[in-house]
């Protein structure tokens, strides 16, 4: 009975993860700016991957589940850092381009 329940929960989590990864891919392709794409990749790198990893409970194998829990912990700690690094780079590039554009228009005036 528990085995069937774990199969169902694992399958549901796998399906949820794949749906989130698909939506994330659509978002990366649809959204035009870096920040929007970062929201989309955050959906894949956070909840999408976590749901896929959590579906490992269906295996009922302690070793696999342990690795999945460790992977979830590391993903939870590292994905915000990578998103922040890209966002900061995009923000600084935007600032620099705005300054360049401002300097050019001042020079032309």
């Amino acid at each position: 009975m528990i085995s069937i329940l774990l199969d169902v929960v694992g399958g549901a989590l796998l399906l949820l993860g794949l749906v989130l990864l698909t939506i994330s891919l659509i978002g990366v392709l649809r959204l035009p700016d870096t920040y929007g794409q970062l929201h989309a990749q955050g959906l894949a790198a956070g909840p999408g991957v976590i749901a896929v990893l959590a579906s490992s409970i269906a295996t009922e194998d302690a070793t696999i589940i342990t690795f999945a829990v460790l992977a979830i912990a590391f993903v939870a700690l590292t994905s915000p850092v990578s998103g922040h690094a890209i966002a900061r780079a995009a923000h600084r590039r935007g600032d620099r381009e705005a300054r360049k554009a401002g300097g050019r228009s001042e020079g032309q005036a």
């Binding site: 959906l43 956070g46 915000p80």
Partner: protein, 164 residues
């Protein structure tokens, strides 16, 4: 000293989980490696020690379930809103919002950044510990004051007890 011991224990636990073993030899190697890492981190880390936390360690540990549970709630809500936006049914007024943050030190600021950055509907753009500000990109920036209030409420209820 208790904080150092806690770090050694947590690192050893991660090592043993990665090995999936409780063999005494593995435990010993894990303890030695963890102690070496913790000592090395103290030597190569910042010279100025962090100020002592005003909250006792036991109280901080008791706040961990609320921190993890609350962050999971934020994650579910943020995931829903982001997914709705990406399929074209969510808020469309995305933008940057500056959030004032308390100057609680580097660890508190980093914890705030990781907690907020983990949720897909917010992206941490800048974290300025010295000026006490955090620049966020949010999917719904139509009411910046509401965003700031929500962030402060989340900090008070989830993080303040563990990382003040």
């Amino acid at each position: 000293m208790p904080a150092l011991l806690l770090r050694v224990v947590v690192l050893t636990a991660v090592y043993l989980l990665a090995l999936t073993s409780l063999h005494p030899g593995d435990v010993l190697v894990g303890l030695v490696l963890s102690a070496l890492l913790v000592l090395l981190a103290r030597r190569v880390g910042p010279r100025r020690p962090p100020p002592p936390s005003p909250v006792p360690l036991g109280s901080r540990l008791a706040g961990v379930p609320a921190l993890i549970g609350g962050t999971l709630v934020d994650l579910v809500v943020g995931t829903w809103q982001t997914a709705a936006r990406l399929v074209g049914r969510g808020p469309t007024r995305a933008g940057l919002v500056e959030v004032p943050i308390p100057r609680g030190g580097a660890v508190s600021t980093a914890a705030w950044g990781v907690r907020v950055g983990f949720v897909p509907d917010t992206v941490v753009v800048e974290l300025d510990e010295e000026r006490g500000r955090m620049l966020l990109h949010v999917l719904d920036a139509s009411d910046p004051e509401a965003v700031v209030a929500a962030q402060h409420d989340s900090y008070e209820r989830r993080q303040r007890r563990v990382f003040p």
